[in-house]
C-alpha cells in the first residue's frame, strides 16, 4: 500500500526528522493560503499522486486531452506563480514514466517551503530478497533516475544491510555518511535522519522508503525533500493508523472490490477475461493466451479454496470490463473439487446472463464429473483438456482480434 508524499512527510515530522514546513491542499484557494502561511519566498508546488517521475511528467486536460503544463512539480517564486501552478495541476491528468499513458487525475497538492540546496542525494530503504535483510541504499547522485545510475554506474550506489532486530548501528550510519562525502555537522544530521528513517521502516512495516532527493543545504543540514513510502500489506493488521492513510481513489476500483472478496485481480488491456486458481497458473494462462495470438484482459486468482460465491463474484468482476469479449476459466482442482467449480460456473453464467463465449478447462480432483456437469448443462460452454487447447479455443471464439 502506497501513501502520498504529504502523508509520508507528516510521518517523518512526527518522528522528529528533518522536513520542510508544508501544507496539503485540495484547491487553489488553499494553495494560496498555504503560500501566505509558509512565509517562504520560494515554495515547491507538488502534484500528489501514487507514482514517481512527477517532476518530469506532463499535465493534460481530462476531457479535451490538451497539454496544460510540462512538469508536475514546480518551483514558485511568487503568489501568482502558486496560483498559476495550482490551477494547472488540480483536476488535470498527470502522465509520468510510471503512470502509463492514461495517467492519473491529480486531486491533491502539497505546497512546501523551499531551502537552499547545496547538493542532492538519493536514499532508500527496502527489504533485499536475496540477502533476506533490510537494505539501505544511498548515492551522491540524487534527484535523477536512480535506475539509470544503477545501470550505468553501480559503484556510485552505496549499500548497507541492517539486522532489523539490532537496528542501524551508529558506526554503520557514519560510514555511509563518509561514503557520501559528508563532513562536519552534515554527518550528524545524516546519521540522525537515516537512523530515524530505519526505525520508522521497521516499526511501521514499510515495504519501501525512498527519498529522492535527500538534500544537504548550504547551512550543512540534511533535509528529506521527498517521501515515497510504501507499506507491507500483510502487516497492515497491526497498523490501523497507517490503514487510515489509504487513498482508494489512487487504486483501480475493481481491484479494490476484488480484494474485498479475497480475490487477486489486476486489470490489463486485452479482451479475453481469465479466471484461474493459483497466482502462477493465472500468469501462465495470460501468457498462453498471448502466445496463441490473443490478449488477456486481466489477471485473476480465485485462490486455492474458492467456493461457488467467489466464482460468481469473480465472473462479475471480469464482466464489468467492457473490453471483455470472451472468458477462459482454467482450474487445476487440487483441494478445490472440479464438480464444485463446474456448478459455480453454471450458476454464475446464469445469474449474470453471460453471453460472451466461455471456455472452461478443468483438471484434477473429480474432473470427469465437472466436465459432465458442464456438458449436460445445455449452456454454450466449451471445454478443453489442456491449457493450450483452451487458449486456442477462446482466441478463435473472440475472433483473434486482440
Amino acid at each position: 500500500m502506497n501513501i502520498h508524499e504529504y502523508q509520508g512527510k507528516q510521518l517523518f515530522r512526527e518522528a522528529g526528522l528533518s522536513v520542510q514546513d508544508g501544507v496539503h491542499c485540495m484547491s487553489v484557494e488553499q494553495a494560496l493560503a498555504a503560500y501566505d502561511s509558509l512565509g517562504s519566498n520560494v515554495v515547491a508546488v507538488k502534484s500528489q499522486i501514487h507514482a514517481g517521475g512527477r517532476g518530469k511528467g506532463t499535465l493534460y486536460h481530462p476531457e479535451s486531452g490538451d497539454l496544460i503544463m510540462e512538469g508536475g512539480v514546480k518551483i514558485a517564486f511568487s503568489r501568482e506563480d502558486v496560483e498559476k501552478y495550482a490551477e494547472n495541476i488540480l483536476g488535470n491528468i498527470l502522465v509520468t514514466k510510471q503512470t502509463g499513458s492514461e495517467g492519473k487525475m491529480v486531486n491533491n497538492l502539497y505546497v512546501e517551503g523551499g531551502c537552499n540546496i547545496a547538493h542532492e542525494y538519493y536514499l532508500a530503504i527496502l527489504v533485499d530478497r536475496e540477502e533476506k535483510m533490510p537494505l539501505i541504499m544511498a548515492s551522491k547522485e540524487g534527484g535523477v533516475d536512480i535506475e539509470e545510475v544503477a545501470e550505468n554506474t553501480p559503484e556510485a550506489i552505496f549499500k548497507i544491510y541492517v539486522d532489523p532486530v539490532a537496528g542501524l548501528q551508529q558506526a554503520d550510519a557514519e560510514g555511509l555518511a563518509k561514503s557520501l562525502g559528508l563532513t562536519g555537522k552534515a554527518v550528524d544530521s545524516f546519521v540522525e535522519n537515516v537512523t530515524g528513517l530505519f526505525e520508522l521502516f521497521v516499526s511501521k512495516d514499510c515495504s519501501m522508503v525512498e527519498i529522492n532527493p535527500m538534500v544537504r543545504t548550504e547551512e550543512d543540514e540534511i533535509v528529506l525533500l521527498d517521501a515515497k513510502v510504501g507499506f507491507d500489506e500483510n502487516a497492515l493488521f497491526r497498523h490501523p493508523d497507517i490503514m487510515e492513510l489509504r487513498d482508494l481513489s489512487e487504486e483501480e476500483p475493481t481491484e479494490v472490490r476484488a480484494k474485498a472478496a479475497d480475490l487477486s485481480y489486476v486489470k490489463l488491456d486485452g479482451n479475453i477475461g481469465c479466471l484461474v486458481n493459483g497466482a502462477g497458473l493465472a500468469m501462465a494462462t495470460m501468457d498462453v493466451i498471448k502466445l496463441y495470438g490473443g490478449e488477456p484482459a486481466n489477471f485473476l486468482d480465485v485462490g486455492g479454496g474458492a467456493n461457488e460465491e467467489q466464482v460468481t463474484t469473480a465472473f462479475g468482476i471480469i464482466m464489468e470490463d467492457p473490453n471483455v469479449k470472451g472468458i477462459l476459466v482454467n482450474i487445476f482442482g487440487g483441494i478445490m473439487r472440479c464438480d464444485i467449480i463446474a456448478r459455480g460456473v453454471i450458476a454464475a453464467t446464469q445469474t449474470l446472463e453471460l453471453e460472451d463465449p466461455l471456455v472452461v478447462r478443468l483438471v484434477g480432483t473429480n474432473f470427469e464429473e465437472g466436465r459432465r456437469i458442464l456438458s449436460e448443462s445445455g449452456l454454450n460452454i466449451h471445454t478443453a483438456e489442456t491449457l493450450a487447447e483452451g487458449a486456442k479455443k477462446i482466441v478463435e471464439l473472440v475472433g483473434g482480434e486482440a
Binding site: 527489504v127 535483510m133 533490510p134 502462477g280 497458473l281 498462453v288 487458449a391
Partner: protein, 307 residues
C-alpha cells in the same frame, strides 16, 4: 532416496486443531503420510480425529518432538502467528534432534516477520525451512508416501523427476506433464511465492543433483527478484543432470503485484523474459506454454540418453 523427506518421515502438524490444520492433516493421512501428532498452544492433551489416525496434541513443539522424535513439521497457523511458529519449531528441532524440516504453508506473513524467522532458522545449518506461501513438499512412495502440504496427492507417482516451483497450481501442472510422458517424481518442492522465504531454487537443485533417485529436474519460476537468474548460473557451473523450465508472467505489467507478494516487476527488474534468457543460456530448456513441459522434458531425457 529422495530429497529431505523420506517416504515414511514422521510429521507433526502445527495448528492441528484449526480448520485448515485438521482438514489438511486428514488429507495427508489419507495419502499415507506418517502423521505422529500436532501442536496447538493450550490444547495439549487433546486428540484430533484424522480418520485413520487419532493424533495427540501437545502445547509446544519441544514437547511434541521429545515425545515423537518427528522428522518434520508443517505449519497451518494464521499469518500473524506463523513467524513465531517457525522460530519455535526451529529451536525445538535444533535443541532436541539437531535437525528437522519445517514446511510453512501459511500465506500473508508480514515480510519483516519472515526476515526475522529466516535469519533465526539460518543459525541452525541442519534445520531446513520450506516456504512460506507454498504447497509444501511431497515424496511419493510405491503406495502412499510423504505428502507434507496441500497438494493433491493422487496426481503423483514415485519416479525419477525432481520438481521445484514458486507456484502451487503450476507445480501440479508440471507433475501432470511429467505423468503424461510416464515419468513419476522423486520429490516435488514448492518454495513459495513470498519475497523472503527459506529454501531456494539452488538448495533444491543441489539436493536433486546429489540424489540418486533423481534423473532430471523441472524448475518453475515466475516474475520478481532474481532467484531464477542465480539458479541458472548455478546450473551452468554445477549441474550434470538435465533441467527443464518454465517461467510465468511474460505478459505481466510492471509495478503490479500478481497475486503472490513476491511476484512483481520493480524498477524494470525481475521480468520473465530476462529469466528465460538466463535459464536458456545456462542450458535449461524452457517451455513457452506449461502444456509443453512434458514434451520438452521428454526431449531433454532423450538428449541425455535417459529414454
Amino acid at each position: 532416496m529422495a530429497i529431505w523427506v523420506e517416504e515414511d518421515a514422521k510429521v507433526l502438524v502445527q495448528g492441528i486443531t484449526g480448520n485448515q490444520g485438521t482438514f489438511h492433516a486428514t488429507k495427508m493421512v489419507e495419502y499415507g503420510t506418517n502423521i505422529v501428532g500436532g501442536v496447538t498452544p493450550r490444547k495439549g492433551g487433546q486428540t484430533v480425529d484424522l480418520g485413520a489416525v487419532q493424533a495427540p496434541v501437545w502445547d509446544t513443539m519441544g514437547e511434541a518432538i521429545e515425545a515423537t522424535d518427528a522428522d518434520a513439521s508443517v505449519i497451518y497457523v494464521p499469518p500473524r502467528f506463523a513467524g513465531a511458529a517457525i522460530i519455535e519449531a526451529a529451536d525445538a528441532f535444533a535443541s532436541i534432534r539437531g535437525n528437522g524440516v519445517i514446511v510453512c504453508i501459511t500465506e500473508g506473513i508480514p515480510t519483516l516477520d519472515m526476515v526475522k524467522a529466516a535469519e533465526h532458522v539460518a543459525k541452525y545449518p541442519d534445520v531446513r525451512l520450506i516456504g512460506p506461501n507454498c504447497p509444501g513438499i511431497i515424496t511419493p512412495g510405491e503406495t502412499g508416501g510423504a505428502k507434507i502440504g496441500i497438494m493433491p496427492g493422487h496426481i503423483h507417482a514415485k519416479g525419477r523427476i525432481g520438481i521445484v516451483s514458486k507456484s502451487g497450481t503450476l507445480t501440479y501442472e508440471a507433475v501432470a506433464q511429467a505423468m503424461s510422458i510416464d515419468e513419476g517424481q522423486s520429490t516435488c518442492v514448492g518454495i513459495g511465492g513470498d519475497p523472503v522465504n527459506g529454501t531456494g531454487f539452488i538448495d533444491c537443485l543441489a539436493a536433486f543433483e546429489n540424489d540418486e533417485q533423481t534423473a532430471a529436474v523441472v524448475m518453475i519460476g515466475e516474475i520478481g527478484g532474481n532467484a531464477e537468474e542465480e539458479a541458472a548460473a548455478w546450473v551452468a557451473d554445477n549441474m550434470t543432470k538435465p533441467v527443464v523450465g518454465f517461467v510465468a508472467g511474460m505478459t505481466a505489467p510492471p509495478g503490479k503485484r500478481m497475486g503472490h507478494a513476491g511476484a512483481i516487476i520493480s524498477g524494470g527488474k525481475g521480468t520473465a523474459a530476462e529469466k528465460v534468457a538466463a535459464m536458456e543460456a545456462a542450458g535449461i530448456r524452457c517451455a513457452n506454454d506449461p502444456s509443453e513441459i512434458g514434451a520438452v522434458l521428454l526431449e531433454s531425457l532423450k538428449a541425455a540418453r535417459l529414454r
